[in-house]
């Protein structure tokens, strides 16, 4: 028996449907093409420069030669400082909004409104704020900790928003279930709601890390330019993104090395993202473990 003809015409008999499908496919292709082009362009210039010596070596000749070892260390330390502040702050804020105040109350609207406004503040403004507040008022100067805390303020809205929606997406009956067993609010939050919302919170942290790793403007005035190996969190340390900016803008013939650094940064973000996705998938799988 002959099978029906499953051409596009047979599956989508309407001309409008087929046209719509074509437009959609083109848009998808362009979007992917953009990503592929950027990667290819960076790889073409940068890949030949990358070696173990480049990843671990010190910066030489303003970055035209040598490596990026100290910068990688500074970048990761800045990230650690940033996450150390933003995770408790963001989670705490989202928990308060979701579990302790009534939705739509004045306090809740003020806080969410403020956090949302924070999300639309340009990063250079965070840089200037960080320089004045952390650098001068709190006397941290140009330092890794100052840069990390500035980044924390910047990505706070991302974390609050994703954690809040993760908490709000939880089954509503977990709360009466906990209360019905005579559990305190604290137990319900710490042992039931937070673990259940963890995959969503991880997504928020991942997005935040991506944003933090690629940030330049907020770091120039806070963690500074130093290319030495950082010895403590009080030292100034140049982030990878600042290095790329500097090579591309201030160093003649720096664009090849800028591409190499950008490629490393891209890889770093990809690694962090896939690690976070793998982690939250692992948790989800464990939770829905089939019997």
């Amino acid at each position: 028996m002959a099978l029906p003809n499953r051409t596009a015409k047979a599956v989508f008999p309407s001309v409008a449907d087929r046209a719509f499908g074509f437009v959609g496919a083109t848009a998808a292709l362009l979007s992917f093409g953009l990503f592929a082009w950027i990667v290819w362009d960076l790889a073409r210039l940068g890949l030949p420069q990358i070696s173990w010596a480049y990843l671990t070596g010190e910066v030489q000749d303003a970055g035209r030669s040598g490596g990026i070892g100290p910068l990688l260390v500074s970048t990761l330390l800045i990230l650690v400082c940033c996450l150390g502040l933003v995770i408790p702050l963001g989670t705490g804020c989202a928990l308060w909004l979701s579990e302790f105040v009534r939705r739509g109350s004045l306090a809740a609207r003020l806080v969410t409104g403020g956090v949302d406004l924070l999300a639309s503040v340009p990063s250079i403004v965070f840089g200037l704020f960080g320089m004045v507040f952390f650098g001068q008022t709190l006397r941290m100067g140009f330092s890794i900790v100052s840069g990390g805390l500035t980044l924390a303020c910047m990505i706070l809205p991302i974390l609050v928003r994703t954690t809040l929606s993760a908490l709000e997406a939880l089954p509503a009956d977990l709360r009466p279930a906990s209360a019905g067993l005579g559990l305190t609010r604290t137990t319900a939050i710490v042992k039931i709601l937070l673990p259940a919302a963890l995959p969503g919170i991880v997504v928020g942290i991942t997005l935040g890390i991506g944003r933090a790793l690629s940030e330049t403007a907020a770091l120039i005035f806070t963690s500074g330019y130093s290319i030495r190996w950082p010895e403590s969190l009080d030292d100034s340390g140049r982030a990878l993104s600042v290095h790329i900016y500097d090579l591309a803008l201030n160093v003649a013939n720096g664009s090849t090395m800028a591409s190499a650094s950008a490629l490393v940064l891209l890889a770093l973000i990809l690694v962090v993202n896939s690690a976070a996705v793998a982690l939250s998938e692992h948790w989800l799988r464990r939770r829905h473990a089939t019997l």
Binding site: A177, L181, G182, R286, T290
Partner: protein, 278 residues
């Protein structure tokens, strides 16, 4: 965290009698109870005694305040913003449930609740028992035994004993509901409130849960809200019919189950119970 309150392990679950035949002791005595949500009165002026060791069924059409009434019995109404409860609910030891100084957490240990939709925590089966038992002061070495006997009581032990570390939400709906009942039983409550416990389950699972609730008779006090009149008649010792009068939920009939079903005095209740209305 909190002090687990008064009676716990020692003064255990079973009211006197044990066989379920004693009518002497009243476990929950409600008088002139009303539940308000801001300006709206959900249920008004309920007076009802729930005898220890018996099953009391609350029936009536939707929106007549049965669930509001049920949730007020262990102060779950506290969770609803703007909800206010007036009147009196007295436990057998004289505790006044509605009193603001009552230890609500200890109260909810004594009066457990099982909801319409099974709501196990999205964690392992074992954690579903660990968390509440630890909270109420059970010692670590007693928790496993307590969990096992509760799971045996609901007939789930043989089905899950080899997968206690697996997720509770991977169980079937009926198993989840029995898990929730076991979780409530594990805390050795005096009373369990059931809020339409079978209406989200398929007929077979529903039958299993119904038999389970029936088997609790004599061991502890049961208050069950159900839309299934036949079910109420099968399992309950006493029944109360709720109805909406002038926009307010109220109780129109109560008494021994057979009497309520065969010779109701209220005309609305009579029509409802005969299946002609509601």
């Amino acid at each position: 965290m909190n002090s687990p309150g008064i009676s716990k392990q020692n003064e255990s679950e079973a009211p006197p009698g044990g066989g379920g035949t004693t009518r002497s002791k009243v476990c929950l005595s409600v008088s002139s109870l009303s539940v308000h949500y801001r300006d709206f009165t959900a249920v008004s002026d309920i007076s009802l005694d729930m005898p220890a060791g018996e099953i009391t069924a609350l029936v009536g059409p939707s929106g007549c305040g049965k669930s509001s009434f049920l949730h007020s019995l262990n102060r779950l109404t506290d969770l609803v913003p703007g909800c206010r409860v007036t009147g009196s609910i007295r436990l057998s030891d004289g505790t006044e449930v509605t009193h603001p100084k009552t230890d609500v957490l200890a109260l909810r240990r004594r009066i457990g609740i099982v909801f319409q939709r099974p709501n196990p925590f999205p964690q392992s089966i074992r954690r579903n028992f660990d968390i509440p038992l630890k909270e109420h002061g059970w010692r670590k070495r007693d928790i496993a035994d307590r969990m096992e006997s509760a799971l045996r009581e609901v007939g789930l032990w043989n089905e899950v004993s080899d997968r206690l570390h697996k997720s509770a939400i991977a169980l079937s709906g009926g198993q989840q509901q029995r898990l929730c009942i076991a979780r409530a039983l594990a805390l050795e409550p005096e009373t369990i409130l059931f809020d339409e416990p079978c209406s989200a389950l398929d007929p077979i699972a529903s039958g299993v849960v119904e038999d389970l609730i029936h088997s609790l008779r004599g061991k502890l006090t049961v208050v069950i809200v159900t839309h299934n009149l036949a079910q109420a008649r099968r399992i309950a010792d006493r029944a109360a019919v709720f109805w909406v009068r002038e926009g307010v939920g109220t109780m129109v009939e109560q008494g021994p189950c057979e009497r309520v079903f065969t010779a109701p005095s209220d005309p609305d209740a009579a029509l409802y119970l005969s299946g002609a209305r509601g």
